[in-house]
């Protein structure tokens, strides 16, 4: 080895000590925002949803629901479009796009959801509670349900968008009753009517009262025509979500399917002009009104003497079948 080589090697070795060694990964820092959606993410989803909804509303065409509106929301809005196209004085319902609150979760699994509460619509109606669901990581959040708040009801305080609300499994016994029990009892209460023993398990709400009132009137009318009126009510448990509230209670977001059959004997049913566009065939002596309702139940935290109650609910007709 020549002297120059030795000198060069020595210089390289000397200079190798000049630069510090590269850093080595250590402790993983914790997240600043634990929620599944940041505020800007949720705002982007909401904006895209109402852009799609606005385009579909303008065209009265549910086929324009391509990425942001799906499920029962698409069915309900599609039914409104059908009626609006055929009935002059039947506009689609107003869905405000300005939100006063967004409830996101900490969910680490799919499907996951977030909800939002709108500003009150201008026509004196109560604010609307929306629910978006993301079925998988590759799917977008889609608006799947909405319901107006029940007059007088107040939504509980929810964790902010930094931490997000803790998602609860339906069988979670940290609240009493559990979300599943509350939903099943409420549906059973809707099935049995105002005289049910379960009526005392829930605070009164206008949604159930209207359902029972319509049932009584239609049952009486059907009986007068020699027929019958039957409500078949089923919760969609697979599409139900529950979030913990700030004070230890829970909000349960529950789609409910209701089929109301009205039959007469020795007569032919005639639907109203508003309902007729939704009839999928010719009505004879029996029709079934198919609803996709959405109910938001509040379960108070343990230790409080309040009753669970529906804080938002909407009875939404999607089709009529013979």
């Amino acid at each position: 080895m020549r002297r120059a080589d030795v000198a060069t090697a020595a210089a390289v070795l000397l200079l190798a000590g000049c630069a510090s060694a590269p850093p080595v990964p250590g402790v993983t820092p914790s997240l600043e925002v634990e929620a599944a959606l940041t505020e800007s993410q949720a705002a982007a989803v909401i904006e895209a949803t109402f852009a799609e909804l606005g385009a579909a509303d303008a065209a009265r065409n549910s086929e324009l629901f391509t990425s942001r509106v799906a499920g029962n929301a698409a069915l309900v809005r599609g039914a409104e479009y059908t009626v609006a196209r055929n009935v002059a004085d039947a506009p689609v319902s107003e869905l405000p796009g300005q939100m006063q609150g967004v409830y996101v979760s900490q969910s680490a699994t799919w499907p996951r959801m977030f909800a939002a509460v709108s500003e009150p619509p201008g026509d004196g109606l109560t604010p609307v509670v929306y629910m978006w669901v993301q079925e998988s990581v590759e799917q977008p959040y889609r608006l799947v349900a909405w319901a107006h708040m029940i007059p007088g009801a107040v939504l509980p305080a929810m964790p902010g968008q930094i931490n997000g609300a803790l998602p609860l499994v339906l069988g979670d016994d940290g609240v009493d009753p559990s979300p599943r029990t509350a939903l099943e009892d409420y549906v059973e209460y809707l099935r049995q009517g105002a005289d049910s023993e379960l009526a005392s398990a829930f605070a009164p709400d206008s949604y159930s009262e209207q359902l029972f009132g319509a049932r009584d009137a239609l049952a009486t009318a059907a009986q007068g025509a020699g027929g019958a009126y039957v409500d078949t009510i089923q919760p969609d448990v697979a599409s139900t979500f529950a979030l913990a509230t700030s004070n230890g209670g829970a909000l349960v977001f529950a789609p409910i399917e209701i089929a109301s059959s009205f039959s007469v004997s020795d007569a032919t049913l005639t639907l109203s002009a508003r309902d007729a566009p939704l009839l999928e065939a010719t009505a004879t002596d029996k029709v079934t009104y198919n609803y996709r309702d959405f109910v938001v139940l509040w379960i108070p935290p343990p230790g409080q003497e309040q009753l669970p109650r529906a804080v938002a609910a909407e009875h939404q007709l999607v089709s009529i079948t013979p």
């Binding site: 000049c18 630069a19 799917q139």
Partner: protein
């Protein structure tokens, strides 16, 4: 060893120090360093533990076409990455090399969408694909809802590391599903170069002293010394040959000191 020899040896050492210092100055590594890795997947990922490394400034990903970069929660990024082949940057092997691992996934949903160099042109003469003969330009990666922040670029996307919130993943992918080119990490590293300047200065001083000593050994300086001594003598208060003043201290000093006469009486003799 004379002072001159010592100075010459010190000068030689100083010269070596100066040369070493100048070489070190010339070869000193820059604090700013860009470390690259070549990619052979459509997706590249950096986890939060890598993004938290000190000194990181920018991330850049290159591709032949469009490239997009995102951030996401770890759980969301991992779920998304389970569907796609990706290169995971795990850290530095050295300042010149990144450590990576490849996570290969089979994505049957997108298998038919993968761009092919033999893509057939569209039968429609008006379509862009027919006009350019280019393969399919987009690849179905799924919804963007999982991403917290997004950056897009053509050929290259560069992201400032501080723009990525702590704890989040950084994920970049090509728009058309083709393999990415490179990932680059720009960082500021600590360079221990504080010793170079003192070494150069000290070496310079010693080398100059040594040079002076060496030069002084080669040049006859006796005439100069004589002139200096003459000048020094001339500058003294007493010129050469001048007689001191009688009775002055100089006269006494030149005459030599005298012991004082002291009479000492013998014991027992009293006058």
């Amino acid at each position: 060893m004379t002072l001159r020899t010592t100075a010459i040896i010190a000068g030689a050492l100083g010269l070596l120090m100066l040369v070493a210092g100048l070489v070190a100055q010339a070869l000193r590594p820059e604090p700013a360093v860009v470390t690259k890795a070549t990619l052979d997947t459509p997706v590249v990922v950096l986890g939060p533990e890598v993004l938290a490394l000190p000194g990181l400034e920018r991330l850049a990903v290159t591709a032949t076409g469009g490239v997009v970069a995102h951030t996401a929660r770890p759980v969301d990024a991992q779920a998304w990455l389970a569907q796609h082949s990706a290169t995971v940057v795990t850290g530095y092997a050295s300042w010149e090399e990144l450590t990576t691992r490849t996570a290969a996934r089979i994505d049957p949903d997108n298998a038919s969408h993968a761009p092919s160099p033999t893509a057939e042109p569209s039968p429609s003469p008006g379509s862009d694909a027919a006009a350019t003969g280019a393969p399919k330009e987009t690849y179905e990666y799924g919804s963007d809802d999982v991403w917290r922040r997004n950056w897009t670029g053509v050929g290259r996307v560069s992201v400032a590391v501080p723009a990525i919130s702590p704890g989040e993943y950084f994920v970049a992918n090509s728009v058309d599903g083709s393999n990415l080119g490179t990932v680059e990490i720009s960082a500021q590293r600590q360079v221990n170069d504080a010793w170079i300047s003192p070494l150069i200065w000290l070496g310079t001083v010693l080398a100059i002293l040594g040079a002076l000593a060496a030069v002084s050994a080669l040049i006859d300086v006796r005439p100069v010394q004589e002139r200096v001594e003459s000048w020094t003598t001339k500058r003294s208060r007493v010129a050469v040959g001048e007689q001191p003043k009688p009775g002055s201290r100089r006269e006494r000093r030149l005459a030599g000191s005298t012991l004082p006469d002291v009479e000492v009486d013998e014991k027992g003799q009293k006058s």
